[in-house]
């Protein structure tokens, strides 16, 4: 891979690039599909990727193709430089400096397609035998192996070789003509040694879908608490990333936290970080698209904003510090309260497993439907809900975190606890 990457880099320089980087990948994916509780497909995909970036006088061009022959690479390099020449100059554009070159090669690669099939078959049999109300709408399990390289004209050179196993399942509970909302869940593994059913919250979510075939709306409009489960990661944690600490809101200046570094933005109970290197995160990338070695980074520590999630361009453009990481690999540190105690502390609220709502705007206002969720009354989980909306502002909500659970769930990509938030508007029909 490094040979192809270096060939592409030379082609970019020949075409006129001042600075350039190339990322090359060859990958194979084998995938089993299940629909409506029946196996439907085995697919094998061979793919390539070549992503080139050229800078000419601070002007940037980016070209991606999936052909790796020399003719295609040469043509792509010429296109990339032509793109750059036509662009606007921007002194914030750059490539990573050379610090230390490394290869990241997985120690043991098993290529165990039979193991993947066995786990998939076992999963379907468990669903059929143990969870008779569950219909698997769509399931895929995959073995992906990849060999890749990153090089740039500052001398940075990384190689990587890895494989991972994964499954994703989308399911409903069905009883007669009644059904639950669909839900989905999945996980990544390094080997297919653990039954899929045992991963993270998976069995719990399936059992809850079976108990949710006759949901009801809440009776009244009230202000109460929600317990956000690890399965509902997108509601709080993805919103923080996309709306307040990433490139777009900070470059535009629309982030409400643009000047909040080292100030309190959340309850002191909250430490939210990217942690691609911890042992529970199995598939965290070892280098970024910009060509930096990844590291674990605290975004919010004890309620204080400690770092943004900026790219090299974003950091140069905003003048804010660069902390290269993989923000997809989120970790929220465990709290000091058992989940049972948190549930007991809620007089009127919702156990929130999934949220279906509009993408929150820069204001942080969020509203949407509580899905696969349960009413909590006087400290006890009661009815499954439908047609129940929740509304809040996430900036207020982060300050209204009342508890974070001792328990956490790892799915190979993230490590998250249950998080209880007060001051949420809940309304039914």
């Amino acid at each position: 891979m490094k040979d192809i990457a270096n060939y592409a880099l030379e082609a970019l320089k020949k075409a006129g690039a001042d600075k350039a980087s190339c990322r090359v990948e060859k990958a194979r994916k084998d995938e089993f599909n299940i629909e409506a509780n029946e196996f439907t497909l085995l697919g094998t995909t061979f793919d390539n990727g070549l992503a080139m970036k050229a800078l000419v006088g601070g002007r940037k061009g980016v070209v991606s193709i999936n052909k790796l022959d020399k003719g295609s690479v040469d043509e792509a390099a010429r296109n990339c430089v032509e793109l750059a020449k036509a662009a606007e100059p921007d002194e914030a554009e750059d490539i990573a400096p050379l610090v230390e070159n490394k290869d990241f090669v997985m120690e043991e690669m098993t290529n165990d397609i039979d193991g993947l099939f066995k786990r998939s078959k076992e999963y379907l049999e468990q669903v059929r035998d143990e969870l008779p109300k569950i219909i698997i709408e769509g399931f895929s399990s995959a073995l992906k192996s990849s060999e890749e390289a990153y090089v740039n004209t500052n001398g940075v050179c990384f190689g990587a070789k890895w494989e991972s196993y994964s499954f994703n399942s989308m399911f409903v509970g069905k009883e007669g003509e009644s059904s639950s909302s669909f839900n989905y869940d999945g996980a990544n593994f390094l080997k297919p040694t653990t039954p899929f059913m045992q991963s993270g919250m998976h069995r719990t979510l399936l059992e809850e879908a079976e108990r949710s075939t006759n949901p009801r709306p809440v009776d009244e409009k009230f202000t109460g608490k929600i317990i956000v489960t690890p399965a509902c990661a997108d509601l709080l944690w993805d919103t923080i990333l996309s709306n307040f600490i990433s490139d777009r809101p900070l470059i535009e200046g629309t982030s409400r936290w643009k000047d909040a570094l080292d100030t309190k933005v959340a309850s002191e109970k909250l430490t939210f970080r990217a942690a691609p290197l911890i042992k529970e995160i199995l598939t965290g990338p070892r280098y970024t698209n910009d060509g930096f070695v990844t590291r674990d980074v605290d975004f919010i520590k004890d309620g204080v904003l400690k770092s943004f999630a900026l790219s090299l361009y974003g950091a140069n453009k905003t003048g804010k510090p660069l902390n290269p990481t993989s923000s997809y690999n989120m970790e929220v540190l465990a709290g000091d309260v058992p989940l049972d105690e948190i549930i007991k502390s809620v007089d009127n609220g919702i156990l929130l497993n999934r949220f279906s709502g509009g993408s929150p705007g820069a204001s942080g206002d969020i509203s949407g439907v509580a899905k696969n969720s349960f009413l909590i009354k006087n400290g006890k989980i009661s009815d499954a809900l439908q047609e129940t909306m929740i509304s809040f502002n996430i900036l207020d909500a982060l300050k209204n975190i009342t508890a974070i659970s001792q328990e956490r769930v790892a799915n190979g990509s993230t490590l998250l606890p249950w998080c209880c938030v007060d001051g949420i508007t809940v309304s039914g029909k």
Binding site: E35, G43, T44, S181, F182, D247, M389
Partner: protein, 462 residues
């Protein structure tokens, strides 16, 4: 343009087989607050084969497209089909033949010479300058110019072979302004058409009028109030009716979703909506005109026909692949489509609309004493239960039949087959929307549309 290495491989087919060569190209320029943060070209192509044996499929794809690679993917897909048949063995018979398939459907290639990137760059730059010059009270803006082209070559063991092109060009504009207390609010508008970018987006100033309306709406939203949460009488702008037809109903009547537990499974030939509601997934022609994203043959080689979904409030049918059509004992109508060469065909919507009615939009608004006029939506999601939600990026109070204050971003929800029964007025005009992508394992270009509707909705807010 793709060469045909597929037809000659048909002699090697032993089971029901599809061979597809495909290339997707995308050019994109992004201006963020005046900075050209994106200037990209992407080309992704290759060939795939799918083989049906005994009730399951074997699939394989590769990035190279040569005579040899076609043979390789066909062999790999056949081996995968054999593995599944041996280890799963559902014992299903071969798929039924398409009766009287047409000869190869060869679409005339639209004007799609390779468009130079500087056309997109110049367009985005000038449009950005225009926005800054004209709209003094914005705090930020994002401009995206995008040109996507999909070319597919299909050879099937039974059905219609085809050669398909679909260029789609888009301009997206986001405007942001701050409220008096410093809270940013934003509005988005997408412009799109099928064809080469500069056929439609000739000069940025041609969008000026629509952007002025967007800016005016943003200034009103800046002064907006929170909606009052609860069940409310609403008038949905035609853009929201399109989202309703796609998200709230369309997904629940995709046959794979029906088999997966969708509420539509128990409602065929039952009243699921007001008699004022009819809904069709059009293939290539609607109301006597070409639809925005015409499909003539799908990626299983099925000639495309309209799928009638709801007629005068009665659920009449689902959308199908060849396999699901056999399961339900109906004729497939060409809904199986794949986004990239490495994707297998899935049941997808094409051009899904609620039919226009007889009322005037102004009368719909005038008839509401206390409710909301909901104008723009950002995203939406449906559920197997028929419960849906859309974000509402722009809406207004209606008081005594007149539009009042704008509202802040909110979300609306309902259960499709209950909410559609509350529709009691349908406007006589409709709009199409093709600027987004539907997400269902793979992305997909889809068209959607509809008229304005008066109905009851659960409105989020405070």
């Amino acid at each position: 343009m793709l060469k045909d290495f597929l037809t000659e491989s048909k002699k090697k087919f032993s089971d029901h087989t599809e061979l597809r060569a495909q290339v997707n190209t995308n050019k994109r320029v992004v201006m963020l607050a005046g900075n050209m943060v994106g200037n990209t070209q992407t080309e992704k192509g290759g060939v795939c084969a799918r083989v049906y044996r005994g009730g399951t499929y074997g699939f394989a794809s590769g990035a190279e497209y040569t005579r040899e690679s076609v043979g390789d993917v066909l062999k790999a897909a056949t081996e995968n089909a054999a593995f599944m048949d041996k280890n799963i063995g559902r014992g299903e018979p071969p798929l039924p033949d398409i009766e009287n398939p047409p000869a190869k459907v060869e679409l005339k290639k639209p004007i799609f010479e390779d468009i130079p990137q500087n056309i997109l760059i110049d367009y985005a730059r000038v449009l950005d300058e225009l926005v800054v010059k004209k709209f003094k009270n914005i705090s930020s803006r994002t401009i995206v110019a995008d040109a996507l082209c999909m070319e597919k070559l299909l050879a099937v063991s039974n059905g219609a072979d085809s050669h398909f092109f679909q260029p789609r060009s888009m301009v997206y504009v986001w405007l942001t302004a701050d409220t008096s207390d410093g809270v940013p609010v934003e509005l988005f508008k997408g412009f799109s058409h099928v064809g080469r970018f500069d056929e439609y987006f000739k000069e940025p100033h041609m969008l000026e009028q629509e952007l002025e309306e967007l800016y005016k709406s943003l200034m009103e939203k800046r002064e907006g109030v929170y909606a009052n949460a609860g069940i409310r009488k609403c008038v949905l702008h035609p853009d929201l009716a399109g989202m309703l037809s796609h998200e709230a109903v369309g997904h629940t009547v995709e046959a794979d979703m029906v088999l997966g537990g969708s509420v539509a499974a128990h409602n065929l030939n039952k009243q699921v909506a007001s008699e004022l509601i009819s809904m069709t997934d059009f293939a290539h022609t609607a109301f006597g005109k070409p639809v925005p994203l015409p499909i003539y043959v799908d990626d299983e080689g099925t000639p495309a026909e309209d799928a009638i979904l709801i007629e005068n409030g009665i659920l009449k049918g689902y959308m199908h692949s060849r396999e699901s059509a056999r399961h339900f004992g109906v004729k497939p109508q060409g809904n199986a489509r794949a986004f990239e060469y490495s994707d297998e065909p899935l049941i997808r919507m094409r051009n899904t609309v609620i039919h226009p009615g007889k009322d005037k939009l102004s009368d719909l608004i005038a008839s509401v004493d206390d409710g909301y006029y909901l104008v723009k939506t950002g995203n939406g999601q449906a559920d197997s239960t028929g419960e849906f939600m859309f974000s509402v990026d722009l809406g207004y109070e209606i008081k005594n039949g007149k539009l009042g204050r704008a509202i802040r971003e909110t979300t609306i929800s309902g259960v499709a087959f209950e909410m559609l029964k509350t529709v009691d007025m349908v406007s006589d005009d409709m709009s199409w929307e093709i600027s987004g992508f539907c997400g269902k394992k793979q992305p997909m270009t889809t068209g959607m549309g509809g008229p304005a509707l008066r109905c009851e909705m659960n409105v989020g807010g405070r």
